[in-house]
């Protein structure tokens, strides 16, 4: 794999920020394919590792990460993001599922000072609910997953993959925390728009990630082709995907927009629409499950 797109002097992290099951892994697969001269992608060697993995922090903590209390992990993460952003000029993009909310000291977990760019990926929360419920092994109990996605205090503990705890919050708070992050280069990409025109969506992202480099259209097209949902799904079926949670039957399960119609009841949709209205309205996501026109006027 080559990385021919990042200027050597660039400082700060590029966050690939999303609620789970919103296209983050697909985007990482795209980045991997785009960075490979042949356009190849191995789903077990994806670009952009998890930004909450303990191994990222322990070196600078000199403490076993699992010895920290939850409150300490958030303090440590913010400090080390700042440290690395200042000293490390080769930092790769980091996948993150946290909401970017203020910590007890009032400072954002992902500080603008440590941020080069943010690629913010969103998906209609009805579809997120279904996909996330399968991911967590909850399906067909979608109500449990709706509880999570509507809970401002929702956290994941990262126990399985040796990650620090993460505050995901409810879907709307999570989404707005990234859309309203101050002083940062950002693009918000809707999953549905990525499905409709992946080349355009990924090109927008590359312009935000690498503002000094003109995206290579042919490489984008090749990477989009190499990372079609069917191809990623086939790779998982043929072997394994090490990021698949133990309770999920498959990581790449459906991938389509509108899958919620096969699973959610009207009452479940109404509950989601009411609780998550602020961000849904901002993004053109209708309470009837529709995906309306939307222009990301606040993106760079």
């Amino acid at each position: 794999m080559t990385n021919n797109t990042r200027p050597a002097t660039q400082k700060g992290f590029t966050w690939l920020a999303s609620y789970p099951k919103s296209g983050n892994t697909w985007f990482r697969a795209f980045l991997t394919a785009y960075g490979h001269k042949e356009g190849d992608v191995d789903i077990n060697r994806l670009a952009a590792r998890h930004g909450a993995r303990e191994g990222l922090f322990e070196r600078y903590l000199a403490i076993d990460g699992s010895l920290l209390s939850e409150a300490e992990t958030f303090i440590a993460r913010r400090e080390i993001y700042l440290l690395l952003a200042e000293t490390n000029t080769t930092t790769a993009p980091q996948k993150v599922h946290d909401a970017n909310l203020p910590l007890a000291n009032g400072k954002l977990l992902f500080p603008p000072e440590a941020t080069h760019a943010t690629i913010h990926l969103v998906r209609h929360p009805f579809d997120v609910t279904v996909s996330y419920a399968y991911h967590l092994g909850l399906a067909p109990n979608f109500d449990k997953c709706i509880d999570y996605m509507c809970n401002p205090e929702f956290k994941v503990d990262g126990l399985i993959f040796s990650q620090m705890p993460q505050v995901q919050s409810d879907w709307s708070t999570h989404t707005l925390s990234w859309m309203d992050m101050p002083d940062t280069r950002r693009v918000t990409l809707r999953y549905e728009d990525m499905l409709a025109d992946g080349v355009h969506a990924f090109e927008r992202a590359l312009r935000v990630m690498y503002p000094e480099v003109e995206p290579d259209r042919a490489r984008i097209e090749r990477a989009v082709e190499a990372t079609s949902f069917g191809k990623l799904q086939a790779q998982e079926a043929a072997g394994n995907f090490r990021e698949r949670p133990p309770k999920a039957e498959a990581f790449f399960r459906s991938g389509k927009a509108g899958d919620w119609q096969e699973h959610l009841t009207p009452a479940q949709c109404a509950r989601l629409a009411e609780a998550l209205a602020p961000a849904m309205e901002r993004l053109g996501y209708g309470p009837d499950g529709s995906v309306g026109p939307w222009i990301d006027t606040s993106s760079v």
Binding site: Y60, A62, D64, L67, L68, S69, E70, I80, L159, I160
Partner: protein, 273 residues
């Protein structure tokens, strides 16, 4: 060679707030040839200096024994580095021959589960991580003398945390004495395999260097104390002199009593470990 545990007695002194001229510093530690100062994210301090032992300051809003698990891991490792030895993030299992086998993995839950399975199935004493090894004579290993702890991997775990609010849990398996230096038979790197059958294979020099690097604890502190060239040399010497094996578990399997027995059989088939 003195057991590291003997070096980290608590002095009762007040730890400094900073070191003079540290060769490496992060928001959480400072280190140089004269000593090591750690700051926990909640404001505790731990200081170690050769000849002075450990001093700690516990934050007022944390329990009085808050730093004890950090003394036994980070303090223990710092003392090892400053005494010319290398801390490895591995569990040790004391076989019935009296020699230790170090168990490491890319994943804490895997090496901890295998060490626990060996202990549970055969009654072996087992150490907590880290252990400290002498790079010039890797048959000499020290442990921190504590019962092994395990990373919490499920919400349903019943073991108590070793530190308030932490995700590392206590167990009561028999510990390996930390007040003596133990002979060591080698290091086994446990991995999740892709084949139907388990396999035990020798690790060559270059792959051995890679493995050693992966399992070194507090590498940034060690590099600051020793210098990059010396650390690189230590990787090479350890890889050359420490017998290293890779145990690939059958696809889809987790460590259990059956795999512990399988590993032990395979080790014995290579000679008396």
């Amino acid at each position: 060679m003195e057991p590291i545990l003997n070096l980290i007695a608590e002095s009762g002194q007040v730890p400094p707030t900073q070191l003079e001229d540290p060769s490496e510093s992060t928001p959480f530690f400072e280190v140089g040839p004269q000593g090591f100062l750690l700051r926990t994210p909640s404001g505790g301090r731990l200081h170690y200096a050769p000849g002075q032992g450990i001093s700690i300051a516990t934050p007022p809003d944390r329990p009085s024994d808050d730093l004890a698990p950090i003394v036994r891991t980070s303090g223990f490792a710092a003392a090892g580095w400053l005494d010319g030895r290398v801390p490895l993030w591995a569990n040790a299992v004391r076989l019935d021959t009296g020699r230790l086998v170090l168990i490491a993995s890319d994943r804490d839950d895997v090496h901890e589960a295998m060490a626990a399975a060996l202990s549970d199935a055969f009654g072996f004493a087992v150490s907590d991580a880290p252990v400290v090894i002498d790079p010039e004579d890797p048959s000499r290993v020290c442990t921190n003398g504590q019962p092994m702890t395990i990373r919490r991997t499920t919400k349903e775990a019943t073991e108590p945390p070793v530190r308030e609010g932490s995700r590392r849990l206590r167990t009561d398996r028999p510990a390996i004495d930390g007040t003596v230096v133990h002979p060591c038979a080698g290091l086994v790197c446990v991995e999740e395999g892709t084949a139907a059958q388990s396999k035990l294979s020798r690790v060559g020099l270059m792959n051995g260097i890679s493995e050693i690097k992966k399992h070194i604890f507090m590498p940034l502190a060690g590099t600051a104390i020793w210098g990059a060239e010396t650390i690189e040399a230590a990787h090479m010497v350890l890889s050359s002199n420490l017998p290293m094996l890779r145990y690939s578990m059958p696809a889809g399997r987790k460590p259990d009593a059956e795999l512990a027995a399988d590993l032990l059989d395979k080790l014995k088939s290579l000679g008396k470990p």
